[in-house]
Symmetry: C2
Subunit: 379 residues, 2 copies
Amino acid sequence: MNESFKENFDDFEVTPWKVEGSVDYARLIKKFGTQEITNEILEKIESFTGELHPLLKHKFFFSHRDLDWILNKYDNNEKFYLYTGRGPSGMVHLGHLMPWFLTKHLQDKFDSNLLFQITDDEKFLFGNQTLDEIKKNVYENILDIIAIGFKKSKTKIIINSRHIKHLYSTSLEIAKRITFSTAKSVFGFTNSTNIGMIGFPPLQAVPCFLPSIIEGKPTPVLIPAAIDQDPYWRLTRDIAEKIGFYKPAQIHSKFLPSLQTIGKMSSSSPETAIFTTDETKIVEEKISNAFTGGQPTISLQKKLGGNPSVCSVFSYLKYLFDTPAESNERELKCRSGNLLCGECKHDLSDDSTAFISMFQKRREKAKDIVSDFMYSEES
Amino acid sequence: MNESFKENFDDFEVTPWKVEGSVDYARLIKKFGTQEITNEILEKIESFTGELHPLLKHKFFFSHRDLDWILNKYDNNEKFYLYTGRGPSGMVHLGHLMPWFLTKHLQDKFDSNLLFQITDDEKFLFGNQTLDEIKKNVYENILDIIAIGFKKSKTKIIINSRHIKHLYSTSLEIAKRITFSTAKSVFGFTNSTNIGMIGFPPLQAVPCFLPSIIEGKPTPVLIPAAIDQDPYWRLTRDIAEKIGFYKPAQIHSKFLPSLQTIGKMSSSSPETAIFTTDETKIVEEKISNAFTGGQPTISLQKKLGGNPSVCSVFSYLKYLFDTPAESNERELKCRSGNLLCGECKHDLSDDSTAFISMFQKRREKAKDIVSDFMYSEES
């Protein structure tokens, strides 16, 4: 079967608004035209940061654009900004936190300024909520962002509708350079797409260029984000140099799987995800109902062993809580039938409730310092 | 020849960005689906304003949407806002002033609040100037707007890029309700249209709804403008009631003809128009070179008479400077061969230089009160 023939039979779909099916990440790299994060790049990162962050070691971040270039820039004393974001369609779940964890790590290790964009306009234009409903999400989501522990002095949150005046002229410069046919081919716009959606993408490009405007010189930007957002910045990269800026570099994560079935966690199906605002009891319930790679009965599990590679509980433990050594041991024990699903669920339940309870305390404290994190035109 | 067959042979084109050929205004009313301004409506206006404004009497304003409705509202003690605008593509010429003259008259007679929108973003997206070049136009154009003599206490100028934050949420509500196929059919967007242009139209709709937001209740709005801008508000009218507002009413003007050939005056061909910033000598030169309806020689003119209906000089005098009685007399004398083109040019030259020189003094004075006319979110 040749490549193009196989592509038509992909049983997954990844766009900025929809992630469906069992994602073949190696295939996605080819489809999107990104680069795999090689061991050579990881070694280079390690040379700056000391021990690699688990999300890098585990290759949860697996793909990039120009990451090698930005590391070379850093090596030559050219510091980079970080830029990531949040579409405030609802409450935040653990899947959303993953890129933010790495972003915080990179901010700490590279002493980077961070722009954090909240695309409230996008979520209004692409969804079914009112502006008032989205405004509530924005506030709740900001608490999560602050709870991650970003440096107050080096982190600025941009809310599109609030900071639109500051973003507008740059977004016009970008918009003028993107034709409908280009946007259509990247985003799949149709005749029934509303014109707000068609006009929106430049706004998600602006923070790629703000650092250069703030610093008064071309300034590298690295975007840690889940790979579904790549199309936005693919477009941005196409026009960056035409308006005198560097192309933004990117580092792409996989998706934390759904707790229930194959696929990404989803805010619209609350049972598939653990939200940062879930009560302990709810977290425990969701985990006890989670989909695992185990056998139907205990005796079969002991006889045949389980399959961690399709197990959501294993993935959560691996990416969020286990050390690499613990994770390897867990995998071996599971495969050899020496670990029952109940035990893993118990571990995940303990770890998750402890994390969520700690995180909720930090969310409470965040309420007092929201304004310190807001972008201002003077900053 | 049937109607639809004839339509294909129209030798004119009117869109918000292009007016070409000799416009058949009766035909345009049919094409756009607007209403003719009837004598009944003019009598109704006269009952409120006293003697009709010359631009109404001369039917320079010839078409409308819901003008009768808004007059009935007024009759029932429901006052209306006026809304008009300027696309700051360059300096202002006499053609631009025509709708503003009527707007001022309506403001005086109906004691209306006026929102004056400057679409600097549109002119950037649709044109070839930089944002800085357009910013200079904006300032110069504001001087013209103020020089018209609008009431300071009842007039607010909105500059899209400056007031974008205040316009943005309403523009999102509008944008979400307009599909690409609708916008495409109204504006003729193609695959090579930039996505800023596609996303722009909602911003020109916002001032139709701002009065209701300001007043906290549905508030009628009347838009005096040249008829080429109708497509914007045709779209707006389609969605107004869906979001709880009145449809904006409109009163449409013809175009002041070019001084040189058939067609509209044009900022891109400076010799076809008299700009408010032209020096006296330039005004005189342009008028002396103007296209008239006269005969090739004096003796032929005396023998055959001229044709005022195709004469740019006659139109300028009629719409801008002559009283209706003077204009009728001028027409009769011209047609009977008792008036030479040189005499009309002389009259127009005298009137125009006097007007421009008075207007330029008012433009100078306007410089001190620009900020008084700026829209503020508190107003």
